[in-house]
Symmetry: C2
Subunit: 403 residues, 2 copies
């Protein structure tokens, strides 16, 4: 597959060659009445999967006749599991390949199926029933512990026994490009004073990745650690700030396969329910950029990699369900802030500025925390031999707090 080529032109450096084919949900801009439909990205085009299915091109045993691509979200397709995902990928890679004429040489069909990215709007690709945020980067845990609790025991010993997660709010998960209003709330009292009320003074981004659940599990029946991969459809970029933002294209674990790498050795050894035969991560270089409203360019503020993650996504899922908690297709669980070991690989401003004790350069200005008008841009891209498996971008702009 590494050398595969599509008849669809894929610009050099594109995140979306035929080897990737990430899934999202598009709305065609010209037709406000047309319902959102599942799609895959290829070069600068989105391939409308409902049009592709209407043309009878999904002719395999699982997808032929299935309504899964005539939905407004990917949830039904996610729930069908790996047989459906593998068949979709194989069919799409075949039909999109340079030497397959059926779509290539049918101009009318091509126009129906392939929509220029400039003519679409991306919508949230899933109905998110549950969203859990883990805390699985040891570098992030250590830095936060140091900042808030001091140098004695920056990481609580228990952190090394289980992946810590908290229930996040599913309703406020939004798709990349959605503006984020600076939240208001109560602030810390000083001494014996009463707390104050006002806009958040330390608004931050958090560079994370979200795993998207495929088939779920019944309440009371945990997912075995060694089956967990079958329940994960893919990964997306995530910024866990106010209004959790995810990238519109979900990159499948199948597309990421060439970029697997050994996950960090775990000491102490995890309990049996967390001990996995295949203890792997993915080598995904990640970056965060900030574009202040009065600057024309974005500036990079951190550069890290998914591969540093201490607790793997499969361990997270096994732990999440060990108490019997049920997952459903389209649920997401995120890694927590992905910090690396180096000072310029930290995944949030809290760490980069050491809770505002120092400033970092952002173009011709500096930041301790985010300012109104700042646009935050997350990106990630695996570099293969002659091709990329990229995630596109996950962006959002900070709007001022309500008066």
């Amino acid at each position: 597959m590494a050398g595969a080529k599509s008849f669809v032109e894929v610009p050099a450096g594109s995140h979306f060659p035929i080897q990737n084919l990430p899934f999202g949900v598009i709305r065609r801009s010209g037709s406000p009445q047309a319902p959102p439909r599942p799609a895959v990205a290829i070069g600068d085009f989105a391939l409308d999967l409902s049009a592709f299915a209407d043309a009878g091109l999904f002719d395999g045993p699982v997808l032929s006749g299935s309504p899964c691509f005539h939905q407004e979200t990917l949830n039904m397709f996610l729930g069908m599991g790996r047989p459906a995902w593998k068949e979709a990928r194989a069919t799409l890679q075949k039909i999109l390949s340079a030497d397959e004429p059926v779509l290539r040489d049918n101009e009318a069909l091509r126009k129906k199926c392939l929509v220029p990215m400039s003519d679409i709007e991306m919508v949230l690709p899933i109905t998110v029933g549950g969203y859990t945020d883990f805390f699985c980067s040891v570098h992030h845990a250590r830095n936060c512990g140091f900042i808030f609790r001091g140098p004695q025991t920056p990481v609580n010993p228990n952190w090394f026994h289980l992946p810590i997660g908290y229930n996040g709010r599913a309703s406020s998960v939004v798709v990349s490009g959605t503006d984020v209003i600076r939240p208001r709330g109560q602030g810390h009292p000083t001494g014996n004073s009463a707390p104050y009320f006002g806009p958040s003074q330390k608004l931050d981004f958090e560079l994370e990745m979200a795993a998207i659940v495929g088939p779920g599990n019944e309440l009371g029946k945990p997912i075995n650690i060694n089956d967990a991969e079958e329940h994960i459809f893919g990964l997306a970029l995530m910024n866990d700030w106010s209004g959790t933002t995810i990238s519109p294209w979900i990159v499948t674990l199948d597309a990421l396969k060439p970029f697997t790498c050994e996950a960090p050795k775990q000491e102490p050894e995890p309990l049996p329910y967390l001990a996995e035969k295949n203890h792997i991560n993915y080598d995904i270089p990640l970056e965060v950029w900030i574009k202040p409203k009065d600057q024309s360019d974005a500036s990079i503020v951190t550069k890290t990699n998914f591969k540093h993650l201490y607790w793997t996504v499969t361990q997270q899922l096994a732990h999440h369900t060990i108490n019997g908690c049920n997952m459903r297709p389209g649920d997401i669980f995120a890694t927590g802030t992905l910090s690396g070991p180096e000072p310029d690989s930290l995944g949030c401003l809290l760490e980069l500025t050491w809770n505002g004790q120092k400033e970092i350069p952002v173009g011709n200005s500096t930041r301790k925390f985010l300012q109104d008008g700042d646009e935050v841009i997350l990106t990630g891209c695996c570099k293969g031999e002659g091709y990329n498996i990229g995630f596109g971008t996950c962006t959002g702009k900070v709007l001022p707090a309500l008066p």
Copy 2:
């Protein structure tokens, strides 16, 4: 309305007279193909609202022709807000009243609409998009603080500045009657030992009430404290254990109106966004019973009242959204364990047995925490003059942990 009577026989002491009319979703037992449909309870009958609507009996401006009662959940009806709720209640109370012949004297229609409770199964009445659990009983907060942190500052000063809530897991909210499997997980290490893995040793119930959200709010746009009541459809009983159980019938705030009472005085005074013109609670006597599997009768273990709640449900909702968090129809937010001031009014075994330091009698046995086979039964009922506004029961039985 206090003296109103229905032509449907309502046994003395029933929770469901014509003054109540709580909403739920029923499935007729005889017809497995028939989809679940919204209903209200009246005496020992459920009134199928889809059949009632089909007969053209909802003839008001909001509900006439609306598909809201041909859904499998109440979410659409909840989202329509108080005008729809008020119209539904008025129409139902009129048509069900003893002197209204249209349903009373039409036997065929009565058979279509009124189903004996023995012929139905209750299903989860809402699709729960978000579930938040608050911690709003000062007695519960004080007891837990005392047990876990000692007598110095049992309640953190900040507790009195805002209603504390945490995101709960929406996927595991189940309807009354659903068995609950004892969860497994990691247990506390002692000294320098590693944590152990096994079944929960201190499985508890938590007596709570859940508020059910009607119309939601847009992300970024808080709900004003003095509008919050318009966003709350009603209340249900809730047991917040493993698999959060709610009672099947939701009692509307309209039905609870005669039982409003002053809420506890708050000191310090809340910040302006939490200061409400109408600072009220509801006088709802609540009980918890336990029925061990080898005993024929359930025994009462606690008796308390909703009216002790320190932070009201409207304050909870205003606080929940003040940071911009969006709520959606069918979301639920719960009070946290509802403990009263007396030793026999505590809402969970943790408090009743002081974390297992003593045992409480349960029929001819005793309990520190729940044992396999125990059925827990929550109930609540407001006593009016000659009628009740009751919540029915919220039950669940503990099954042994997986091997």
